[in-house]
Symmetry: C2
């Protein structure tokens, strides 16, 4: 398997009924902070899907250092704790590595 | 919920034991074709994770037209059928919409 070390994360989060607005407020603050501060983070966006009360963070990092830099920020720790209050159980986190090197890989 | 119509897809695929090399060959061909041909597709990359024999496509599209353009290409249909032969059950597909508008949204 040809590996180039690019890392991805997909975090699927279920929230308690009726907490969408508060959760989104905190989650979007986190998204903004990451995009403003983390050059090694190539993608950090929040999505919602067809399943009610469920959100998905799609994330991509240039390398392991960028992953660790993200996780060590104060805002990630603080906003992560704040989001946890609205969660219905633990998030499902897929920690991923990119397969191979492709056209369009920036 | 403030919506800007940006679409994401996370497709998690389990493959039959011992088929990694063949599956990756076809899947990487698809990734290259998409990145070469689809301007409205902002992200189309293949990942593998901690779960054996499991792959994840992370995808992002500028709009619904880009989603439909992708699905109507000959190569998506042909390579999709070819990949299906190596799959262990149906893929789990999360069809997603981006929440709100963020710093760093290109």
């Amino acid at each position: 398997m040809m590996e180039i070390g690019m890392f991805g994360t997909v975090a699927t989060i279920k929230i308690k009924e009726g907490n969408a607005a508060e959760f989104e407020k905190i989650a979007t603050e986190l998204v903004n902070k990451v995009n403003e501060n983390e050059k090694g983070c190539l993608l950090y966006q929040l999505y919602y899907g067809e399943v009610p009360n469920t959100y998905v963070f799609m994330e991509r990092y240039a390398d392991q250092a960028a992953v660790e830099a993200h996780r060590s920020t104060e805002y990630f720790k603080t906003l992560g704790r704040a989001m946890a209050e609205f969660m219905d159980g633990k998030p499902t986190v897929q920690r991923l590595k990119q397969v191979g090197r492709f056209v369009g890989y920036e």
